[in-house]
Subunit: 356 residues, 2 copies
């Protein structure tokens, strides 16, 4: 089969990790008889430098016409002092909105080989961690009306958290469908004791749950969820939550695994077009030095194979290759520990290709 | 000196822990020559059962006339199915609003004697944890306009996050003043890359910081803060943040200490009237069984002595007594571990009184 992939190397280590990921995808293509066409486009700081704006229209157009988007990382101190709407992050928000990517899937997985990097005690982790955070990505306080005005205390600023029945229903379905392929447990996180949008969220989730009688549903307040992720993370299978709460909880869930450099993400919409990116940042301090860990991006490509191209076998093949290389004790600097073999970005990419 | 204290035993274990705390305060009174007058009032589930509403006007009036308020716990499954505005939590929100308690001080402290209960690895904890979360408590999305309406996707619900210059300024001052008495470091947590209210927050915090040149200020996005609390909590001294982010982060910070049953809180306003309560819940399953841990409430009373009554010596005396009893290896059920001596609520209270 043929697939068109828009690549956005972006800033910092973005180009380093995308380069290796493209090589991995090409090898998968050879092995399984697919052809991947890559079109490189600009976004983030790189786009600001080249065109003056973080998300050029051409980038949006090419992404929309592609079968999927692979993103490295955007942002860095160089662009930190630009005004809000001209900053690299705007590219992310713009792409999410323009491509209608309302569902962000963030697996927080502890690779057995990296168990020692976990900040939680071994008795809490047990034999592993495997949580999927399903974060709503195009609604809530990220996209609601905001501004300045004069209120009873003088100058004030406001932001609006908004959720419609439709928006909650579609993200809830993604959560329940995911749970059906996993351990059939959904925890819906909200703040229904305070927020009206959470009360709507909760009632819609309960309605959707009726279509998935096999899935066990529980509701949890966000403050409690932030605690439970530390106290007993193994109680979670799939977490579904709003854009803002998902931003916080997915990062917390990632951190308890201890290996941010390993974690991929997928942002999906109604169709098969998705955007795939590592959850780590652009790490400008090590950019271009063959030091970055390409694994999170390579695992993001595996998610692309699975979710956008429906190539489960190919996806699993990539994931197994990563596991194999870790078991052979190869490590990039960020996950290095005593007795392991230190390798650079390119060698890590090559090792994974060899293991495919 | 004479002090009038309104006590709100509330629900579940509330009466058990308030009883012991009153005894401790009486002993402090005897020892240091003060008189504490206690007036018990109704709030939460107990008030719903007795009067039909969670926060009777009489309770508000008595609290307003008191020098301070001591609260046990409110809520429980018995009242969980009541409509939003008749639920026990409304009592908390009502008291915060009516008494103007805009600053919530939540120390996340690891007691050396309880180090083993911490969920984080010993190398992360080092020789202890001592973070003070200063949460804004009467503004933001908790108190903004909310409702239902018809939007572009049909039925929707909305909530408004609002912050005025005035509200941010006064909470920032509490944060900087607290930092001056501690390690002179403030981390202001926001989401200024998305929220207009966070951008206002950040600029006001920077202005207030100018009055505290000795205090080191840094800004952190809330998603990163949720990660850093797990990765390296010792980097924090005072955290200042909004009502909603503070709800999440203060609970996460409490949990990483591993001893929720030990942590007090203070809610302060412009004057000296404050409300003091443990951060744990009402634990209805062990209510009235002499099993609850009264320490968080007793330490809340110590905060009352310090912040509302300006009795530093008396406050320190209570805190030292608690430390002493823990060092003598006495434990209630919630913090029990091998080789320790299990005691009930009353015996724990008595041991602390003896140690005063
Ligand atoms: C960069 C920022 C706007 C973004 C977000 O808050 O969504 C990031 O934190 C993320 O989670 O992808
Ligand atoms: C009970 C609830 C309304 C309350 C809050 O969210 O403020 C609680 O979580 C707290 O932190 O005191």
């Amino acid at each position: 089969m043929n697939f068109n992939i828009a690549t956005i190397p972006g800033d910092g280590i973005g180009p380093d990790i995308i380069e290796q990921t493209v090589l991995v995808l090409n090898r998968i293509g050879e092995k399984f008889g697919h052809t991947f066409h890559f079109t490189e486009v600009l976004a983030g700081g790189a786009a600001i430098d080249a065109t003056g704006e973080p998300l050029p229209q051409e980038t949006i157009d090419i992404c929309k016409k592609s079968d999927s988007v692979l993103l490295g990382a955007v942002g860095g101190p160089k662009w930190d002092n630009l005004p809000g709407d001209r900053r690299p992050e705007k590219a992310l928000l713009g792409l999410r909105g323009e491509l209608g990517l309302f569902a962000n899937l963030r697996p927080a997985l502890l690779h057995k080989a990296l168990k020692d990097a976990c900040p939680l005690k071994p008795e809490i982790i047990g034999d592993g961690l495997d949580i999927l955070v399903v974060r709503e990505l195009t609604g809530g306080i990220y996209f609601g009306e905001r501004g300045r005005r004069t209120g009873k205390f003088g100058e004030e600023a406001y932001d609006t958290e908004t959720y419609s029945v439709h928006e909650v229903e579609r993200i809830a379905r993604v959560g329940f469908e995911s749970a059906m392929k996993r351990n059939k447990k959904v925890t819906s996180v909200d703040k229904a004791n305070i927020l009206e949008s959470s009360r709507l969220w909760r009632s819609v989730v309960e309605k959707v749950a009726k279509d998935y009688p096999e899935v066990e549903l529980n509701h949890m307040y966000v403050d409690n969820a932030a605690m439970q992720l530390v106290r007993n993370p193994r109680q979670f299978d799939v977490i579904i939550t709003s854009n803002m709460f998902g931003d916080i909880l997915s990062d917390e869930a990632s951190m308890i695994t201890g290996s941010i450099g390993m974690l991929p993400s997928a942002s999906l919409g109604e169709g098969t077009l998705g955007m795939y990116e590592p959850i780590h940042g652009s790490a400008p301090d090590i950019a271009g030095q063959d030091k970055a860990n390409p694994i999170a991006t390579i695992l993001s490509a595996a998610m692309m194979l699975r979710y956008s191209f429906n190539l489960e076998k190919e996806a699993a093949c990539v994931e197994e290759a990563v596991t194999k290389v870790l078991e052979q004790n190869y490590r990039t600097g960020d996950i290095m520990s005593d007795g392991m073999k230190l390798v650079g970005t390119r060698e890590m990419g090559q090792l994974i290709i060899n293991a495919l």
